[in-house]
């Protein structure tokens, strides 16, 4: 997984995972997020950049 450069993401996604009792690991959640952007985003540039990584 590419390291997150967002301080806020790095700080709060793990806390939200705990808060929601999410069974997936951070790595699995981030891949889930990437897949969701690639499959659903209506901004073509967003999809293309998400797909490159």
């Amino acid at each position: 997984m590419k390291p997150c450069t967002s301080a806020w993401g790095q700080k709060w996604v793990p806390e939200l995972i705990k808060h929601q009792d999410e069974p997936m690991s951070l790595e699995e959640v981030i891949e889930d997020c990437r897949k969701a952007v690639i499959e659903n985003s209506l901004a073509l540039a967003q999809r293309a950049y998400a797909d490159k990584h």
Binding site: C4, T5, W8, G9, K11, W12, N40, Y49
Partner: protein
């Protein structure tokens, strides 16, 4: 040496001088009781909780506010509310209260907030929040300033004076907004009814300082809660479409520049997603709300930056359809994934595009576009630097 007053020493004059005259303050010291600090601490605890929870509520409603200018204003207001809450919490820390979020505070504030969320229309919600809750906060700050000791409590006075002015400015904003939007008798009636109802709810909850007697039950709203919103709204000036735009070739300077700054205006969807996370992330640490509120406001600023540049390029944003579908599909996911998509995927991956286009603007001599992009990169770079510092030592 100071000039001597005949028959009196300088020291005796100072001793007899009201200290409030030496301090630059218009508030006279009042008769503080031995329990004054305890009372003030309880007030400040409740006030910071109301600031925090009203900011969350603004976040919950921001996507459904139709008027574009109001949507921008709310992005700023929710950030200002969290800043005020932060200052109050710092003061509480000085007063030896390191954890101001006791369950009693949360339990007295949250039920009222959840009822105020139940407005059915954006202008109705704004009437209740601003003419009800924010007005109560402004009055509470003024009352505190009147009552507290002008010497002992100077640090609180500095904070509450500023907070009162900020609140009063927002109430003026809301009055102007409502005058613009609530133009029919029916709408004016809804505004008046919901604002009065909000006052009843806050009173029944024990007031924003938590000092008054609390009713066993809060008056029911008679409506179900519409939050969280599955779609973000735009006002009637906009054309809306679900699909985004293809990126033109970068060497088509005019088309690419317009595409890029229209894309910035559409960052309002990111602000709206963050605003919804602010509301739905109930029970998180207070710092989470502070960071998400700033992030939300940053996205509003980026959208505004796009709007201004589009206008400089000879267009109005209302001529170009906005697409709102990215907010809509993100709402199908839980708040944690929405936040993860924005921070780990969308923002992170957009860096390459921003750097590429910045260099191109410099190359073609479009300094204004380059500077605008640079400000955005500076916002993001701050996050990168913080991220790198935070990440040091983490495998």
């Amino acid at each position: 040496m100071g000039e001597r007053i005949p028959g009196r020493s300088v020291e005796s004059v100072i001793e007899q001088t009201d200290l409030s005259l030496l301090l630059d303050t218009s508030t006279e010291p009042m008769n503080a009781t031995p329990n004054d600090s305890k009372k003030r601490i309880e007030q400040l605890k409740h006030l910071q909780a109301w600031e925090t929870q009203t900011a969350r509520l603004l976040g919950g409603w921001q996507p459904a506010v139709r008027l574009w200018e109001a949507k921008h204003a709310i992005g700023l207001h929710l950030w200002r509310d969290l800043q005020t809450a932060g200052e109050l919490r710092t003061r509480l820390w000085e007063l030896r209260v390191s954890r101001p979020d006791g369950s009693a505070v949360v339990e007295s504030v949250l039920p009222a907030i959840k009822i105020l969320a139940c407005a059915q229309q954006d202008f109705e919600f704004i009437a209740g929040l601003y003419l009800g809750a924010k007005k109560a906060l402004a009055e509470a700050y003024r009352a505190y300033l009147e009552e507290t000791h002008a010497t002992w409590d100077v640090p609180s006075i500095d904070i509450l004076r500023r907070a009162a002015v900020i609140k009063e400015t927002k109430i003026e904003w809301a009055e102007a907004y409502l005058a613009q939007v609530a133009t029919s008798d029916e709408r004016r009636h809804i505004v008046e009814r919901w604002a009065n109802y909000a006052v009843e709810v806050i009173t029944a909850a024990g007031g924003v300082c938590g000092e008054d007697e609390r009713s066993a039950e809060l008056p029911p709203p008679g409506y179900g809660c519409l939050l969280p919103f599955g779609e973000c709204k735009r006002d009637d000036r906009f054309k809306v479409q679900l699909q985004g735009y293809d990126r033109p070739p970068i060497d088509d300077d005019e088309a690419h520049t317009l595409w890029q700054f229209v894309s910035y205006t559409i960052e309002m969807q990111a602000a709206e997603t963050l605003a919804s996370v602010l509301w739905e992330g109930e029970g998180m640490d207070w710092e989470f709300y502070y960071d998400v509120a700033r992030h939300c406001y940053d996205e509003c600023r980026h959208s505004k930056m796009g709007e201004e540049r589009v206008r400089e390029l000879g267009h109005e944003i209302f001529e170009i359809p906005q697409f709102t579908g990215n907010y809509a599909w993100r709402q199908l996911y839980d708040p944690m994934r929405r936040y993860g998509m924005l921070t780990y995927i969308i923002e992170q991956d957009s860096f390459a595009l921003k750097h590429e286009t910045y260099k191109n603007y410099v190359k073609i001599g479009d300094t204004t576009s380059a500077e605008a992009i640079m400000y955005d990169i500076i916002d993001e770079t701050m996050h990168v630097r913080l991220g790198a510092e935070m990440g040091a030592g983490i495998d």
